[in-house]
Amino acid sequence: MDDVAAEVIAIIAKKVPEGQKIELTDRLEDLGIDSFGAVEMIFDLEEKFDIQISYNSNDAKPEFETVGDVVNAIAKVVNGKS
């Protein structure tokens, strides 16, 4: 697992019951992360990686459905940084 994935999972792990296993295929909703939980998660990720992520919790289709979606989105922004 690469660094970004490990960091994303570490941040998500703080928002779910201790000891819960987190897979890339897990849906955030199934992990108990509600819309405001997702907003907090994105804030933590932005702070961690010093990046900006465009995200509006009112978008009808969730951009980040699974843990893997979040990892891919973060990796894209992080790798795009020079």
Partner: protein, 411 residues
């Protein structure tokens, strides 16, 4: 003995007009007050649009000393209060001034003072702050300034319940006048929350619309922050009749509740309890209501939950209601919102016209009631509700009725 409570004055400072008359005229024409912010720099903001009170010159209303002493939020409150009192025709002698309550809601108080001064301190390394910093930013400053500027010596305090502040303030004022604890009340709400710090705080919640506020519409993207003030004069019907005052409408009921559930997510049950409470308090059946001035913030969660709550409260009559959100035009003015919306509700009754919900693109399956999309609509209204549902799970609903003879003759 309980007395009926009537409205005899209103005053407004808003993004679409600095007087009640200009506010209404633009509201009824569906004019938007939303544009790129001008009073703050926008280069570091993800959302640059706001419903700003444009070209507000405090020196047109206050002398230099007062301009220095009053934060923008208190300036708005005083200007709106003066207009409301002037319209009511009330003259406050000593006895009446002591029997008049001043209750002004505000969500966040003197944010401009706080933002400016903290910037000086933290960024510019200022060694000292202006001595008026605290008395300008305190949350009761608008209420205190209205009391001082208008010479009102009865009960006076601020109400803070975020987006429901004005509705809670007016509700308490209504209860005081109804119970006889006060003869008159000058009440409403004010907020001047468009500062860099506040905008960044709202941006972090990821609920701000990038383009427009579209309550109840498909593809709505959230709220737009606004500012302003709305103040009403409430008066015992007996007192108003005795002086032959022009009566603009009647406040008949007030319902409030707390969700005790979540800080930011709306709760249908809490909304229903406030809606039902206002109807019961006002002696109204669901079928007596023709118009609901919705909280309608334009977020996915509020509009869907508010729709469910209206359906549960009104049953089959929900489909007969005209429902609209002023926030589509004046944004979310937080602590002022409930005041702006109650004035709009009373004016809709008086003018027999429902202001529209603008920026509406088409129905969302989760929002399937009549939101008076994009165009104002002529409607005879006998009774109406005005909804406010705040962060913190605090709900407040006011019920109003037409006062016989208060509507303008049909044209």
């Amino acid at each position: 003995m309980a007395d009926r409570v009537v409205v005899t004055g209103w005053g407004v400072v808003s993004s679409i007009g600095h007087t009640a008359a200009s506010y209404w005229s633009n509201l009824a024409r569906g004019v938007s007050g939303v544009a790129d912010a001008r009073i703050i720099p926008t280069d570091q903001l993800a959302q640059k649009i706001v419903a700003e009170v444009k070209n507000f010159d405090p020196r047109a209303h206050l002398d230099d000393r007062q301009v220095t002493m009053l934060d923008r939020v208190s300036q708005f409150a005083v200007v709106a209060a003066r207009e409301a009192i002037a319209q009511s025709g009330l003259a406050f002698d000593e006895a009446l001034s002591e029997r008049t309550a001043t209750i002004i809601g505000t969500g966040v108080g003197g944010q401009n003072t706080q933002d400016d001064n903290y910037k000086r301190l933290y960024r510019d390394n200022a060694k000292r702050l202006h001595p008026l910093t605290i008395p300008k930013l305190m949350v009761n400053a608008p209420a205190s300034q209205v009391s001082m500027q208008c010479g009102l010596r009865g009960p006076c305090f601020a109400v803070a319940s975020a987006c429901a502040s004005a509705t809670h303030a007016i509700g308490l004022a209504f209860q005081m006048v109804r119970s006889g604890a006060a003869t008159c009340a000058v009440t409403g709400g004010a907020d001047a929350c468009i500062t860099f710090g506040t905008m960044k705080g709202w941006e972090a919640m990821r609920v701000m619309a990038p383009d427009a506020c579209r309550p109840f519409s498909r593809d709505r993207k959230g709220l737009v922050l606004g500012e302003g003030a709305a103040v009403l004069v409430l008066e015992s019907a007996e007192h108003a009749r005795a002086r032959s005052a022009e009566i603009l409408g009647e406040v008949v009921g007030f319902g409030m509740s707390s969700d005790a559930y979540d800080l930011t997510s709306p709760d249908e049950g809490g909304m229903v309890r406030a809606l039902t409470g206002a109807l019961t308090d006002g002696g109204l059946a669901a079928t007596d209501i023709q118009y609901v001035n919705a909280h309608g913030t334009g977020t996915m969660a509020n509009d869907e939950t508010e729709t469910k709550a209206i359906k549960r409260t009104f049953g089959t009559h929900a489909a007969e209601l005209a429902i609209s959100s002023n926030k589509s035009m004046v944004g979310h003015a937080l602590g002022a919102a409930g005041g702006l919306e109650l004035v709009a509700t009373l004016m809709a009754m008086r003018e027999k016209t429902v202001p529209p919900t603008i920026n509406y693109l088409g129905p969302d399956p989760a929002c399937d009631l009549d939101y008076v999309p994009n165009e104002a609509r002529p409607l005879e209204i006998d009774a109406a509700l005005s909804n406010s549902f705040a962060f913190g799970g605090l709900n407040a609903v006011l019920a109003v009725r037409r006062w016989p003879g208060s509507a303008r003759p049909t044209r």
